[in-house]
């Protein structure tokens, strides 16, 4: 960044630009970001990228090993599974389902959680206290338990497992938002808004929400990694996505039967989940330290 500056002009990047400048100082964070972008691209373009329909069964090629093994073919890059389906295409589609649904459910949980958290944070008295304490302690109920109950009531399926994870994620957002809103409400700039006659909604929308974006971004990356792991865990336990929907956890558990003869069928979906979560965590970590450094400098 050796730029020649004739004038000692000060460069004040905008907050978001500043975060980006701090963020890209870490090479790990950049690599993680690139991988995350790759998964985004896969999520959007999976049907175009996949060479085969993920559910078409090619009975002539069953349990083909990946292309780099001796008897694999380049036609099936990652080989085929026990039903003769192309693993590469299935993995792309599975990534799409897992990642896409996680993003959607985190977004829903975010919106609901922020709304509830703001209500809890801006209100006082019995209503808010009940909401707070109940949500705080219900936060302790394990995700899988919620999922089991929802599946018991509504049956299995991707949408139901998403619902379960949304319910499990909401309390975290509520908790964070409430604490943040409560802290901000004590500050003088909110009092000034009040004195100027701003309504509660305006205070929230114009004064509190803009300051909350960073918190929410960090919290969302955390929630996203949890969501991906949970949704694939539910898929793995056969409580989530059901065939013909291809999902990483589900395809992992389907491969268990042939684990001896085709270990790559276990390695691949698991590695995809791992990579996805890892990249999200690295980005989250980079984001957090970028935010921290921005405050220092």
């Amino acid at each position: 960044m050796a730029q020649f500056n004739l004038y000692q002009e000060e460069y004040h990047p905008s907050p978001i630009m500043h975060i980006w400048l701090e963020f890209k100082r870490s090479h790990f964070a950049l690599v993680g970001f690139a991988v995350l972008l790759l998964f985004c691209v896969i999520t959007i373009l999976a049907p175009l990228l996949a060479p085969y329909d993920p559910n078409v069964q090619n009975t002539n090629a069953i349990l083909l090993p990946p292309a780099w093994e001796g008897n694999g073919t380049i036609a099936h890059l990652f080989g085929t599974n026990a039903l003769g389906q192309d693993v590469f295409s299935r993995t792309l589609h599975a990534c799409r389902i897992t990642f896409g649904s996680s993003v959607i459910l985190v977004f829903i949980a975010l919106v609901v959680g922020v709304a509830l958290g703001t209500l809890a944070g801006m209100n006082r008295g019995v209503k808010s206290s009940i909401l707070n304490h109940l949500l705080d302690s219900l936060m302790a109920v394990p995700t899988l338990l919620i999922a089991i109950i929802i599946v018991a009531i509504l049956g299995t399926g991707l949408a139901n497992s998403m619902l379960a994870i949304i319910l499990a994620l909401i309390p975290q957002f509520v908790h964070q938002t409430r604490n943040f809103v409560r802290e901000e409400m004590k500050k003088d700039y909110i009092l000034l808004d009040r004195l100027d006659g701003a309504s509660s909604f305006r205070i929230f929308w114009k004064s509190i929400l803009p300051g909350m974006f960073e918190l929410l971004a960090v919290q969302s990356t955390l929630a996203l990694s949890v969501a991906i792991i949970d949704i694939s865990a539910l898929g793995f336990l056969n409580l989530g996505a059901q065939s013909p929907v291809v999902e990483l956890g589900a395809s992992l558990s389907q491969s268990l039967e042939v684990a001896y003869s085709a270990p790559w069928l276990i390695a691949l979906p698991g590695f995809c989940i791992f990579l996805m979560v890892l990249s999200i965590n690295i980005v989250g970590e980079g984001l957090r330290s970028a935010l921290r450094n921005r405050l220092i400098h």
Partner: protein
């Protein structure tokens, strides 16, 4: 030999993009038993000097100095262990903000008793030692003027008022019977009555125990009432240092003069409703320090020579860094001139 002797201390700090000389060739000495004041506006690097002395500067900041010694031992090159031993017994520090300098999860008693060096206890059994610790602690609390030691010592730092906390910090600093007390703006944001108590406490300690004090502050009134000598800092450069009465009578540096003029209590013949004097402009930010004399852009008597850093010059004990000092003809016949000045100064200074 002075207790603390710092010559041309330069500290370069990391602003994220580049290293900036936050302190540029600062010199300061503290003799045994004197109260030396370190004056400067906020951001002039006062606290940084303190941190450099006690070694609490981040490792990657660059500290260089021609001389930075404690009783002849080099503070820059000594090992952490050596420095720790010195800090333990000989140097004590009182920080700006007393409540954040106390561990929030321990009672005051625990913290005070922890600070008592074990050499102070007789070789008794452990339960006797506890009693001894308690007695020493109570004695210290009384010494700094906290009367109800019982109720105070059981409390946690967030439960006591900040002036009590500051007295307590002084008690903790005194526990090891140090030779110098470095007080980093101990009266910041205090009411004037409590401030006076603290100042009186410090002066009394100085007189009764011959405790040297490095008093860091921007409060000229406090300094003039207690300090023997002072060093004025501007933007990380020492501009002037000497006896307080000399500086008051005849400030040589334009900044010192501006500083003194800005405090109305020092101007005896200030007509009513007249404008208070102040320098034009503002303190430059760390990223945009001017070259040469850092006061340059704001200095009323700046000339083009001022883009060079002025060397430190001495007139007896009075040091100043200015190309064009006030009250002094820049001509040749310096020495006769300033002896006269200072004779005058000292005779009048006795009025204070």
């Amino acid at each position: 030999m002075p207790l603390l002797d710092i010559k041309n201390l330069t500290v370069e700090i990391d602003t994220g993009n580049e290293f900036v000389k936050a302190l540029d060739k600062v010199s300061i000495t503290v003799e045994a038993g004197e109260i030396r004041a370190l004056v400067g506006e906020s951001g002039s690097g006062k606290s940084l000097i303190v941190r450099a002395i006690i070694g609490a500067v981040p490792d990657h900041w660059i500290i260089t100095a021609d001389r930075m010694t404690w009783k002849g031992q080099n503070l820059l090159t000594m090992s952490n262990e050596q420095r720790r031993v010195i800090m333990r017994r000989e140097i004590a520090v009182v920080f700006q903000d007393p409540t954040s300098s106390l561990d929030p999860s321990a009672t005051l008693r625990e913290q005070l008793e922890e600070s008592i060096p074990s050499e102070f206890l007789d070789k008794g059994m452990f339960w006797q030692r506890n009693k001894q610790r308690r007695e020493i602690a109570i004695g210290l609390m009384h010494k700094v003027g906290i009367k109800d030691h019982d109720s105070c010592m059981q409390r946690y730092p967030h439960e006591i008022a900040s002036d009590i906390a500051q007295k307590f910090m002084i008690a903790m600093a005194l526990v090891s019977e140090p030779e110098i007390l470095i007080a980093d703006d101990p009266t910041r944001s205090m009411e004037s009555t409590t401030k006076n108590q603290i100042l009186r406490l410090l002066s009394a300690l100085n007189e009764s125990k011959k405790l040297a004090i490095l008093f860091v502050s921007h409060d000229l009134l406090a300094i003039s009432s207690m300090a023997d000598s002072m060093t004025v800092l501007y933007c990380g450069q020492t501009v002037e240092s000497g006896k307080v009465k000399h500086l008051h009578r005849r400030p040589l540096h334009p900044y010192t003069k501006a500083l003194l003029d800005s405090a109305p209590s020092f101007q005896i013949n200030l007509p009513p409703k007249s404008h208070l004097v102040s320098l034009e402009g503002t303190i430059p930010t760390l990223q945009h320090l001017p070259i040469g004399c850092r006061l340059g852009p704001r200095c009323p008597s700046a000339r083009k020579e001022c883009v060079k850093v002025p060397e430190e010059r001495f007139i007896q004990q009075h040091a100043y860094s200015c190309h064009f000092p006030l009250h002094l003809p820049t001509g040749n016949d310096k020495s006769s001139d300033d002896t006269e000045d200072f004779n005058l100064g000292s005779s009048e200074g006795s009025r204070q």
